[in-house]
């Protein structure tokens, strides 16, 4: 195996790891189920590795990876549902593209973890643990914390906003301190 091949594989692996959150989030958005998202993510990752020689360094890695993830997702659903889901994948891809930032994903991830540790809203934290930690669907989460569905969405929205504000504040502070 030549140096170029090694380098190309390493580069692909680096990109796959760097963009893991976007890919996983994309699949989670489509499936709404952490376990299914994880399974599809692993399949996608495997295909990326198998097709590493088709990737051209310098081209848009995420566009390529999302394309493979999308196909994996569409292949896993009932063919009758595909036309609607195709439009849905399109909007989610646009959203992820619109949300791309300059900072490395790991910077945001670390900031979010720290903000999560400091989250003052105990009920909000509990809801996040149930939804993401245990992978419970929305209605189960609402039942566990004794909230109506609408109240749950409002609570999640408030918690996410608090986390986002905290993350942005941290990133600004770190940027100013750098």
């Amino acid at each position: 195996m030549g140096m170029d091949t090694d380098r190309a594989r390493r580069e692909l692996m680096r990109l796959a790891l760097e963009h893991r959150a976007q890919l996983w989030g994309f699949l989670m958005g489509l499936t709404k189920d952490p376990q299914k998202a994880e399974d599809l993510f692993q399949n996608t990752y495997l295909i990326l590795c198998e097709k590493w020689d088709q990737y051209r360094p310098g081209t848009n890695f995420m566009a390529w990876a999302r394309q493979i993830a999308r196909y994996e997702f569409l292949a896993s659903v009932d063919p009758d549902r595909r036309p609607f889901l195709t439009a849905e994948t399109e909007v989610l891809e646009l959203a992820l593209h619109a949300a791309e930032r300059e900072e490395a994903p790991s910077v945001r991830r670390d900031a979010l973890r720290r903000c999560l540790d400091q989250l003052p809203d105990a009920r909000g934290r509990r809801v996040l643990e149930l939804r993401y930690g245990q992978g419970l669907p929305g209605e189960r989460v609402a039942r566990e914390v004794d909230l109506s569905m609408n109240a749950l969405y409002t609570l999640l929205s408030r918690v996410r906003r608090a986390l986002q504000d905290c993350v942005e504040r941290r990133l600004r502070t770190e940027e100013a301190g750098a």
Partner: protein, 553 residues
């Protein structure tokens, strides 16, 4: 961004929307750039939350095929050695933990087996040979040796069932009547067979276009999922196309309309309805298209998330991203209608318009980046140049000068023999000038390989060197050295004898916008010229066969 939209995003992410509710919600997000960003960040943050909060009970090992997938992934990516670096930590941790758990589990728990899940890969694992004793107090767990992983073939999508009527089988011979036995209950009367329902065959699908060229990674999309797109494949109405990392995919309709797709472009649907005409749904990406004249009342439509372009026959370029759609028209006229307010603008040849966030919705002249001048567009003056057929020339045609009265330094007069081209260009921009040609001299070609060009009333910058100024004025430049590289045609950017044009090709800047002209003079003959490329983007010498495509006449 209002709170209601934020709540709706959470409702969507939590799976609280029915498909009927999700459809208009997603459409409203698509139209709102702020909502798009918010949804994108929420999607990404979900992954971080999952990583930070997920609970994986130790009593439940990962299914075997998951472990195999991770192991396979690692092997595919890195060969035998584990990857280094902190970035790979999560994979390594997962691999090690899963392998240990798997081994512990399989060695201590013979049954029951973990629930069987639909495998995605066939895995054959062979235990590695027992490790040699080591002085280490804790021997590492042996890693299973992978010998082969064959992906199971993906089952083909179920094909639509068509019941074909078949002749009824001959009636079975009636058994002889027997006396009913008291021990055997009499047979139940047979139910009347349900009438056979024969599904009408699907009407044959009309082929609306073909894939002329298919770049690697291009997928053909329809309800049965993506397939590899190949050149020559027929497209039926309703199918889509998506390009990968490579451009070069072209669709051609029977009326001659062509659509060229850039990398990472998604045509969600290509529809050609005999009643309404063609409609191309462009989700994102860039395409260029030459559109043949469309039937009256049936314009070709390009529908994007932001606008609809109605085309009756033209050449255009369409670029779509998450925030806007830009239409550049090269020939003809196109109406662009913005979806958000239904306002329309007519975009004429040489103009562009942008529909999207923060952009004035008006038609403006397009910047002119590339100008390609070919022999068929040039006008000969004087008796030195003539048009010849030359199969080696880019378009099969070249200008040839076999003799010249010009000498260096060049002093042109009103009757100097020349070829003149007239073209449009922008003022105040630097254009690099490339001229493609060759000498046909067999003896001493270094003395038979130069031309001069003149851009009247413009500023021309030549590279430094011994031949600078030989063309005789600030609006002229010498193009020299056509014998240097090869016997055939190649691009020269000025004085190529000392490769000076590699780093500093000739640059022209026009003083006024609009119509410009360039004149070509022979300086050393015999010489042939088949193209002049005046480019705002090409700063380095193109390959001999590179540069813009020239139609062969």
């Amino acid at each position: 961004m209002n709170d209601a939209m934020r709540d709706e995003i959470e409702r969507y992410l939590a799976g609280g929307m029915t498909p009927e509710e999700a459809r208009p919600f997603l459409e409203s997000v698509r139209q709102d750039p702020q909502a798009l960003v918010l949804l994108g960040r929420a999607l990404e943050d979900q992954a971080y939350l999952y990583d930070a909060l997920r609970v994986r009970p130790e009593a439940e090992p990962r299914p075997a095929h998951d472990t195999a997938r991770i192991l396979k992934t690692r092997r595919l990516m890195t060969g035998r050695r584990p990857p280094g670096g902190p970035a790979a930590g999560w994979i390594m941790g997962a691999v090690a933990a899963a392998a240990v758990l798997l081994l512990l589990y399989t060695s201590t728990t013979p049954s029951p087996r973990p629930p069987v899940r639909t495998p995605v890969a066939r895995v054959v694992e062979v235990p590695a040979p027992a490790p040699a004793p080591t002085p280490s107090p804790v021997a590492p767990a042996p890693e299973p040796k992978r010998v082969r992983v064959d992906p199971l073939p993906t089952p083909p999508p179920p094909s639509p069932r068509v019941d074909v009527p078949v002749p009824a089988p001959p009636a079975p011979k009636q058994p002889e009547p027997v006396a009913p036995s008291p021990l055997i209950p009499p047979p139940l009367p047979r139910e009347k067979p349900a009438p056979t329902v024969v599904m009408p065959p699907e009407p044959p699908k009309r082929i609306i276009a073909r894939i002329d060229q298919a770049a690697a990674g291009t997928a053909l999309l329809d309800a049965s999922g993506p397939k590899e797109a190949r050149a020559g494949l027929a497209l039926v109405s309703g199918q889509g196309l998506e390009t990968g990392a490579e451009g070069g995919t072209r669709v051609r309709f029977p009326d001659g309309t062509k659509i060229d797709l850039a990398p990472h472009t998604l045509l969600r649907e290509i529809v050609d309805d005999p009643a309404t005409g063609k409609n191309i749904l462009v989700a994102w990406g860039t395409l260029t298209s030459e559109i043949s004249k469309q039937p009256t009342g049936k314009p070709l439509l390009f529908t994007t998330p932001h606008a609809v372009a109605r085309v009756l026959g033209t050449t255009l370029k369409l670029a779509v991203d998450e925030k806007s759609t830009r239409l550049d028209v090269r020939e003809g006229k196109v109406q662009l209608r913005r979806t958000s307010d239904n306002k329309a603008v007519d975009v004429a040849a040489g103009s562009f318009a942008v529909a999207g966030e923060g952009a004035d919705f008006v038609s403006r002249p397009s910047p002119i980046d590339e100008i390609l001048l070919v022999p068929t567009q040039g006008e000969i003056g004087g008796g030195e140049w003539r048009l010849i057929a030359d199969p080696a020339a880019a378009g099969g045609i070249a200008f040839e000068a076999l003799r010249t009265s010009n000498r260096q330094p060049f002093k042109q007069s009103a009757d100097s023999a020349r070829v003149t081209w007239v073209f449009r260009a922008d003022a105040g921009r630097d254009y690099t000038v490339w001229i493609r040609g060759c000498t046909t001299a067999k003896v001493d070609p270094i003395k038979h390989d130069a031309v001069a060009v003149e851009f009247p009333e413009s500023k021309v910058t030549e590279q430094e060197g011994v031949n600078k100024g030989m063309a005789g004025g600030p609006d002229r430049a010498l193009f020299n050295g056509y014998f240097m590289r090869a016997t055939g045609y190649w691009w020269v950017g000025g004085d190529a004898d000392a490769n000076l044009d590699e780093q500093h090709p000739v640059v022209v800047r026009f003083n006024r916008p609009g119509l410009q002209s360039v004149r070509l003079y022979a300086m050393e003959t015999p010489i042939r010229i088949d193209a002049i490329w005046i480019s705002a983007t090409q700063k380095t010498r193109p390959d001999a066969q590179g540069g813009p495509a020239v139609d062969r006449k």
